[in-house]
Symmetry: C2
């Protein structure tokens, strides 16, 4: 097995996937609004040779539980939620290698401005920026941007397709590779003949250009995606370089991985060339018993209501309708049935109560939680990777920042001893570090196709101009 990819998975919020844990005396989540919090986290992760810091984001709030946003605010369930992009420059200045995977939606903000933001950060980070492309999926977000409800899944992905195509034009085709000359003697900064408008006129967007930013180290940022539906999978297969997956059981996860690699093959891309990264939570301590004690103690700080806010939001079913010991005999929601089946894979006949479901997703949401000594956790991660075919993990935490600190101090050396984890960073951009390839996307990726098409069109025009 090759070395595992490891990202830290977090949100710019006092709570992400372990509601209530902000109340733990060791937890520092409530400081999330300060820069020092993020700089120290980035330094810690770079000490642990993490590939990236992956920041989830959304523009809405959870409001299915009790039909109200109130419980989410009360338990800090992913709210308040500050902008993630603005954290990057401080963290990048404090680190040299750590990558930053930032979630941004294609549904509500103009592509010209978004493309400029990512190009700016690709410069500032020396090519360490990644974009987790999402389409947003809540009516509460839509209502913050002039709509009554969100567009359909299909519409959102159709917009996302055009959005990315337009971004590729700005990033890959607007400035030629050698457009910036910066020749002090000649007084020539950039060669206008090598800078081009993009003249995009599509169904959803019209942008003239040129791009305002000169070519950055990666041009197109490293592209993450997490589409689980068939539409989302096709979108990922066309565009993504890293795909983020999550499932509470190996069987379900292995199925997702198979479908994803097949979708990549169907799209004409090498299925081995993508990095599939699974959500996972680890609680570790020097010994197995200490880790189990720690887990039990964390559970006492978990918020059952907060967990049901998440579960209600994810499934669309208001769990406040059930008493804690209500058994899910006849599960009417497809989403809950899927979740419950996945949680029950060890024992498919098991019946779950509402309270047990809340307890399950009280730490780490629906992702698997590995509790144990460093060697037990390393066994677990190795077996999850081997049995499902994932290339690495987005590690969530129960308590900040000890969740990451314990992992780095205890589990990282164990993984390294087994040859399952790097002992130093590669040089180069986020893309180069992760894949050992060049820092430009290559055909058949659509970013490369856009680049080549523009170059041919220019050559054609240039040829025609000759007498």
């Amino acid at each position: 097995m090759s070395e595992l990819i490891l990202n830290a998975f977090i949100m710019n919020s006092p709570g992400h996937l372990s509601p209530g844990l902000w109340t733990h005396p060791d937890d520092i989540s409530v400081d999330f609004g300060t820069i020092g919090f993020w700089v120290r986290l980035a330094e810690l992760l770079e000490r642990g040779l993490f590939d990236g810091l992956f920041i989830a984001d959304a523009y809405g709030h959870y409001d299915v539980f009790e039909g109200s946003p109130g419980p989410a605010f009360a338990h800090a369930v992913q709210i308040p939620r500050n902008d993630p992009l603005l954290l990057v420059s401080a963290m990048a200045h404090a680190t040299r290698h750590l990558g930053f995977g930032i979630t941004l939606s294609t549904s509500y903000e103009p592509p010209f401005a978004l493309a400029r933001r990512l190009s700016t950060l690709d410069h500032l980070t020396n090519g360490r920026i990644g974009w987790n492309v999402v389409t947003s999926s809540s009516d509460s977000a839509a209502r913050n941007f002039g709509l009554d409800r969100q567009l359909t899944h299909e519409e959102r992905y159709e917009i996302a397709d055009e959005y990315l195509e337009l971004c590729y034009k700005l990033w890959e085709a607007s400035w030629e590779e050698d457009a910036v000359v910066a020749d002090r003697a000649r007084g020539l900064y950039a060669d206008p003949a090598r800078i081009h408008p993009v003249d995009h006129a599509g169904r959803h967007f019209r942008v003239q250009g040129p791009h305002l930013v000169a070519p950055s180290p990666q041009r197109t940022p490293l592209l993450f995606q997490a589409g689980a539906s068939s539409v989302g999978r096709r979108f990922a297969a066309r565009n993504a370089e890293c795909v983020f997956v999550g499932a509470p059981s190996k069987t379900v996860l292995a199925g997702s991985v198979r479908k994803l690699r097949q979708a990549f093959a169907d799209a004409g891309r090498d299925p081995a060339s993508i990095a599939i990264i699974a959500e996972h939570t680890v609680i570790t301590a020097p010994t197995s018993a200490e880790a189990r004690d720690k887990h039990a103690e964390y559970r006492r700080h978990a918020s059952r209501e907060g967990a049901l806010v998440l579960m209600s939001g994810w499934t669309g079913v208001d769990f406040s309708r059930f008493a804690p010991d209500d058994v899910f005999e006849h599960v009417e929601s497809e989403a809950i049935r899927t979740a419950v089946e996945a949680m029950s894979s060890a024992d498919p006949s098991r019946k779950w109560t509402a309270g047990e479901i809340a307890d399950w997703c009280g730490i780490g949401g629906l992702s698997p939680v590995s509790v144990g000594s460093p060697s037990e956790v390393a066994d677990e991660l190795a077996s999850w990777a081997a049995d499902t075919g994932v290339d690495g993990f987005n590690l969530s935490y129960a308590v900040l920042d000890s969740g990451f600190r314990d992992f780095i101090d205890l589990v990282v050396p164990e993984l390294q001893n087994r040859g399952l984890y790097k002992t130093g960073y590669r040089e180069g951009t986020f893309r180069q570090k992760l894949f050992g390839r060049g820092d430009r996307l290559e055909a058949p990726h659509p970013a490369a196709v856009v680049r080549d098409d523009f170059a041919s069109a220019r050559n054609l025009r240039a040829t025609r101009l000759r007498p």
Copy 2:
């Protein structure tokens, strides 16, 4: 005279108001894409006790000269131009007091997202963020956001009015002052009863809310504006706390200051309560002769064509139509006539050639340039402030970063000796530091009115609910 306000005036670009000076051997502008450049600049400015770093921005490019964007790219005339907001967290982490005035337009990006960005930065900077509100003013920008040409001046300001009103609702009225409880023992992070949707449904925007970000130190960022038209002045008089002005002559500048203070009085606000800050460029050296030599040497690096790119963009007249020694006898453009009259205030009968105009705005654009020893520059700044009524200066540079370094090493001590400049920072937010007042906007500012209206409406509802 009271202490002068001083901001550094810059753009996230290799060129701002002195085209061609990036070619000077001492100039470091070409490093503008790196974080280290900005962190070192922020540290330098804080050493010089600057009040703020003021970053101009725009979404278009200059294309009037020769009817083409080419010359702007060739001479780095404000292009490439990277996103300014993303620089802030790195600079804020390296400083404790320096404020950041960032330019953002109300014309093209959704207010819900913009309000979240500024709230996030107000948290990360501990209340040191300011917003320079602009409406964008070029067709090239409009064509990057789906339009054929920009909206009219009046339409843009009407949109800006609603935009700000909506931002005030999100910033001032969505979360009550004590909404965040963060009580670990009770497991209550925020009190849902004190968090409110904004339910804005206006002519241009519909936003439900609540705001995603908890109250930040200033809530509403310190508000800058630079409207010079009568519509812009009325907008500034309603909303701005600092107004940015620029004129090449004292007479013209004094007139602008009078009109602005009158507009504030007309809007029911204390005309003495605003800070009026004028664009100014300084070239200094230990002696007068050395400063003049330095100026002459800088002039040799100035780009005449670059200066005409700016002048053509500002006036809408393509200066490539004129030969360098064409005299402006009968100036057909109102904008050129105004500029030329202002430049000629010392000698109203003076005739200008196109080449002389290019030379004039080759360093510092249309702003006055003070060249001299520290004591001569201090004399100049003091007399500009006394004769025009401005409260301070947005200092532009010819060469980076020696323009600011020379000023800080030589002129700052001279100003301090005269009691014209502070000798240390005040504690508190950008607003508190600048005005010595509280960190919240007060009536009759519309942000305070929005806050009070929402509070009354809530109390009314609460009263009605009682039996």
